[in-house]
Amino acid sequence: MSLASGFAETARRLGQLHEDPAVVARWQAWTGPLLSRLTPPRRRALLALGALYVVVRRPLKEMAPAVDARAPAGPLVGAMVVVLCLVVVALAYLAARRFASLPAVVRGRPQLWLHGGFWAIVVLGWLVPDRGGAVALTFWGLVLALPLLLWRMGYLLLSGQRGRMASTRFSDHLLYLYPAYGGSNTPYGKGLDHLARHEAGTDEALARSQLAGLKLLLLAAIYHGLLDLMAGLVYAETRAPLSAHGLGLSRLEALLPAAGRAPWTAAWAALYAGLVWDVLKLAARGHEIVGILRVFGFNVFRNTYKPLLAPSVVEFWNRYYYYFKELLVEFFFFPTYVRRFRHHPRLRILAATLAAAGLGNLYYHLLQNDAFLLTLDWAGLRPWLEARAFYCLALALGIYVSMRREQRRRGATAATASLPTRVRRIAGVWTFFALISIWADASSATFGQRVEFFVSLFGLR
């Protein structure tokens, strides 16, 4: 056995420790009666208890950019927003429980009604005349706090639509609606249907899930360390370790407004380094969240799984931000796929991909644009919209082309491709995502500046 293959085998065994029966048995013996006491209902109850804290904490955090808690009306507005968010969630729960008795027009498009309700609140908040009053501030607080709950309530309504609500309680749903394990607007672990499907039912399954979770938590700590090292050695950020020896590379957001005046080597380096940084950061955060879920017995997929080794654009998209991709697939891709162009297979996939990676992606990020949600200032939205819409379109087309290529390539597995071919494919994927990130970066650069930056990469000014 060569050194390289020996190293690979050791790494593989270490990575699969949680599947090793001897290790699982040792973990069971070590944790002893604690595992037996942590039955599924008790684990759910613990997460639901954590959710009670999040019920209060998270809306206050989300509304903070618009409502100053130290202002005279601050505490009252905060309390109102927390209660109203809970009322909205309770209404969504009731709607899901009685899904079959909802009016047919709602049953047909429940997600549309959910989002329509949110936009009604946005418009009402915009119409309130007294901008500084408690009513207006409460609307603002709601507008900023509800996006966290929207997609989660979407999964709740899907449960109702699929007839899965009968044996569940409100507290079961609270644990993902207000996740004590953390998360963004994207529900990591999806809704209760998905969580329950991956819930450990035996002590052995729980032990395996916990070991897998601990592995992710360890990996998250390692990734955080790598991010610190990268901040020092690559970006030479003063507070990071080893920054004195750093390359001092600029970040993309610093180069974009310069519209291509940076040396092309620095520009390319910023793009690739930015891609690696983004992947590490997302993986670290996702591993923490999924790690905690697994410790609590929900052995769900990782959010990020080696995307930098993906040999195709569609594979990268699948591995980079799994729960965001799943959200787009469930709420945009499949609803389009089963309704539109059923007798035109290629057009059908193109339309569904544009609906998900294009339109759905754009809409998801619009819901994170606090300034727009509070002011409905379309003119102010334009620079962001132009860049983001272009990014989403390029991403969707890239994914579509990649899907078609993968379908044609089916039969020849990645393992049969030669090493140079695999390296070439991976490099192509890196380059595609690095290049389109020019239009996804949150900098204030205009669309034109981003285009100038892009053409400067090829020596054109």
């Binding site: 249907d193 499949f334 089963v338 039969g411």
Partner: protein
Amino acid sequence: MRQRHRERVLEFLRTIQKPDRPLAAVAETDSLVEAGLIDSLALLEIVAFLEEQYRIDFAATGLEPELLTSVSGILDLIERESR
């Protein structure tokens, strides 16, 4: 009847599975995606197969992608929609 459906479904799955994995090695209730037998793109073809062969209208019934990742899930769906 289920046996006949099973044979038809397995025959179809063999046309879209990855060539280096034996279909027989995967339990009927196991996820074919997690077992590495099919990729997530194959789900689109499974949907098209069920629409075409069994006249299932997912626009009307709703689609739960995770149910289509196992042989038993597909068979249950066929039986439910054939009633």
